[in-house]
Symmetry: D2
Subunit: 334 residues, 4 copies
């Protein structure tokens, strides 16, 4: 139901798992016209062009075509910073999957280029667009529970990634906890002044062999005195465990897991509720849709990015500090 | 993301509240091509044509256009039977909102015409397409709770319709309970042999003045001995209350209400969970989408209607029996 | 911790399952002095005297001993009316397990004797003393949900009694539903004017062979227009299912089952909550204690019975009407 | 219902708030004969003697009376170690409220005396006797969730104690968190090797003025690699928040708060569940009863203390380590 005349032409770079999600949401959004798909793998590209009616194109074509107002970068992490810089120089409005880069100085350099070219950059911290976490954020802002004193973020993946992914992931803090760091920053709304991290390898020895951990608890403290605990595991056999609890001077707010349906059974073994969703593509389906709607608003000029390059940079800085704390056993003061 | 070449051209008749929902779902379904919209009200039609890219058309155009394979009838109840018959004679595959008609003999006549013309007819009992109730149905079929012995359907609207609607509604049993009768028939899976109804007017005296009721409990019994209670009210101040409980020889299955989000608060007043959705357009959004997907399958010839004209007829027959029970104080044996 | 000097001497007649519960609660209540136990079975009596320090006695002793102010009748149903009459003539304050008798005219005769002797009679409708149902009743009285429009009582036993018990039980309505009739009367707080019953035998053919049913749904209507549905089964494999839902013009109140503990598990199969209690001795432990506290207050003269002989009579009358409705298929107007 | 002949004579020292709870449970336990109450305040002592039938006595009388087999120490913290030592020398079996002392070396000295006199010492870590946490512990031992990887203990008091109490409390870790340290030790079942603490004063500036904190998150790590987070606050406006979550290789176990009843309301504002209990006397009523039953078993010689002086010592050692971590910003390795 796209109105061809008024919709904004954009291009997608990277047509893998998350790229396909963005392609679907972009093609269903009447304000957007997904014109080009760029991907090295013929097969992935063909899938997405068939489903969306977009044309395949090269990077050069995308950057050279002045009708293309925005680009969605969903390619591999090591290409993000380069593509952002090229996009910025070509004057495109950019939506880039997190992280900007695994190296903080490279991120800073890249953000400088973005700033010099004055293009809006939206970094894909999808959880901020989730309706459940959005509702929590709104209620915190409304002062429903008074002063925020403690936040507990439970964030567990259903199963660990393969060892080869671990090797290029930048480690659990940069790869997985980075989402929780962004969520903590967003909800706490007070400068984080210190961080402590405790970790171990309990899930998969192959992760430990790479010098990484799979089980962690991180504690952040803000200028206001609020304390936040992030509970991470690379493997929750029962599904993708994504909960947040905010405690304040006037009460408690809790975001429960999203379940597959509303059907429960009661048998001699007890009450059995529905299962929780499997992984992020299912759990955050609505968030990805909202994120694309927000990107459309940014393209239309009616919104500025909710999740900026600066947010990406700060979350990465927390990941690096967590790593230093883990290695030294010391609280890192920021 | 419609693939224009292979999608099936269809027309929508009636562009009111529910018509717009169907228009949206049809236009998002890649297998369908919503070509025409027919509606007496210019304004409603314009809305939908603008949103979907469909053209406005007259009834005559729709029936005369051989490229149109299917029609969606979402106009007022009194036009349903006529339009079904015209559609059937024109060889269209039909999706008609419930009810076929408020009069049982008119329904029978209409279904005869459908049969003579051998066109598939899908009657819009949307709840069978709801993922939560579908999951319940599937689990009952799988024998998870053994023999079905009792079913309790709680079905309460958020607020009563205006008196002028009541006047043409056919009464609560034909208008509102008809969905619950269909659900009971589907879940019980044994011939219903008797029905008892108890009712009163507690919500709005204007409803009583029209000879109708707004508060009712109906009890059905099947050949197998299973007993079903339907709990109806025209006004639940807390929202659209749609729950089902199935009790069997091996346990209990419960479908809870769908909530707006997963956020709860705990304050000195207790734990406050999220609100339940307001009304059927929100509660059954996924069901309407699934229903349209199913209609697409019927159009493609890969499925036969899950909810047929016969289902519509039988639910109406139960509504009439309930009315007789209410008036006579007797159990009606079917 | 009984203060011997001020506690009130009482006797227990019948030291079976429920008699033992009452003996325990009486002996732990500092206002009561359980002096005598009467029971035909030496063994049962010995158990209770050992546990409580009470003496064994004959009926004659109990009635002749003027120091005995109150008696608890927990013997078999067929002895209740006689013992109440003897107790009343002896001037004892009486706590009798339900029912007074299975025959309505015998109940009326018995209550006449009680009235003539002006002794308080407390009939053991234990559920009114349950803290959860008490809270519901209090909140309904406080008008929290406005005018009561519908009540749904779910009341399922964990397993059917043996056939020999069925034979002397008076049937499901007099034996089991009688508790629900009392609860309905208490909560509805408006004269019940009609009743309809639907039943079948689905659990145990031996029950059907005795002319009884094991699965039933009963619908009551009050003068105010409120409608109540009672959902009964003799067998819920998952435990003793005791829930009530009250629906009114301002909202809904729900009493959930009481669970064994607060521990839940989440596994790949879903969330599994705690089990519900097995049967009435566990589920209503607090209710039995409160009931005995209330009896102590009646003995002290600071309260009149919350559950009277009249309540017992009215619940039995509803049971008889339900039976007539079941047999005739007609609504019975009271 | 005490059997005077076989019950074991004991004495209670300290008849304040918690002393009264123990007096009540002891007098209701048929195996115990609460003979003496020792308390400096006439009024408190009179209350308890009146309620239980115990006699008032001096400390000297209690220690000199050879018939007294056990003592319950519920006096102020600064008297615990002395009374334990006197009791041990007099050969009494001892139940002492936590902590043994606020000073670790004093605790060690006291435990040495206990050991030399070979008397059983039960330290009042009441939470281990709670049926909900006991069920969690049992299910963890049964391997229901496989290897324990993470534990999150949420433990928040309803309101902060007065400043004068804070002054003698030993600080939040020794006074409040000590219960959570014991729970962590019990559930983790692997040697704790490191501890980190983060804290702030957000609830009451008067607490900060005393050099104490009221908001804290502590992280423990065990030899096995398991990590535990303790979430503490001195003030949860919604009541006494006592929850535990255990995460393992096969799933998750959660202990929810205990609610006042099972009644929920649904109104236009959402679903409102029941309130959680106010404070430890209500929340742990069943635990105190079980604890006394266990002490009776220790007195009878059929059990050894579940919560020993060593447990008290180790929890205190964790409190001291937490304090050092808080002050230095370092992980403390044990």
């Amino acid at each position: 139901m796209t109105n061809i005349n008024s919709s904004i032409p954009i291009a997608l770079i990277g047509a893998g798992r998350i790229g396909k999600i963005h392609a679907g949401n972009a093609s269903r959004n009447p304000a957007l016209n997904l014109k080009y798909i760029v991907d090295g793998y013929q097969l992935a590209r063909d899938d997405v062009t068939a489903a969306t009616g977009a044309e395949e194109a090269s990077l050069a074509q995308v950057f050279a075509d002045d009708s293309i107002k925005g680009i969605i970068i969903a390619s591999s992490t090591d290409t993000h910073a380069d593509l952002i810089e090229q996009g910025a120089r070509a004057g495109k409005i950019i939506f880039c999957e997190k992280p900007v880069d695994l190296d903080l100085s490279r991120v800073d350099q890249c953000l400088k280029t973005v700033e010099e070219n004055s293009v809006p950059l939206l970094v894909g911290f999808n959880r901020r667009y989730d309706p459940h976490f959005s509702a929590l954020h709104r209620r915190l802002k409304n002062g429903e529970i008074g002063t925020i004193e403690q936040i507990v973020i439970t964030s567990r993946d259903p199963s660990p990634p393969p060892a080869e992914y671990i090797a290029v992931s930048g480690g659990i803090f940069r790869d997985m906890t980075i989402h929780d760091f962004d969520m903590a920053r967003w909800l706490l709304d007070s400068k984080i002044i210190s961080i402590q991290a405790t970790g171990s390898c309990m899930v998969d020895p192959a992760i430990g062999e790479q010098g990484d951990i799979d089980t962690a608890i991180i504690v952040l403290k803000t200028e206001s005195g609020a304390i936040c605990s992030i509970i991470n595991s690379r493997r929750a056999v029962y599904g993708y465990d994504q909960r947040i609890e905010a405690f304040g001077s006037k009460g408690l707010l809790q975001v429960a897991n999203v379940t597959e349906d509303q059907v429960s059974a009661i048998t001699p073994q007890g009450m059995t509720g529905p299962r929780i969703g499997n992984f992020f593509l299912e759990r955050y389906a609505a968030a990805y849709e909202q994120e694309m709607n927000h990107f459309a608003d940014v393209l239309k000029g009616t919104a500025t990015p909710l999740t900026t390059g600066h947010d990406g940079r700060q979350a990465l800085a927390l990941a690096e500090a967590a790593l230093r704390s883990l290695k030294t056993g010391k609280t890192i003061f920021l």
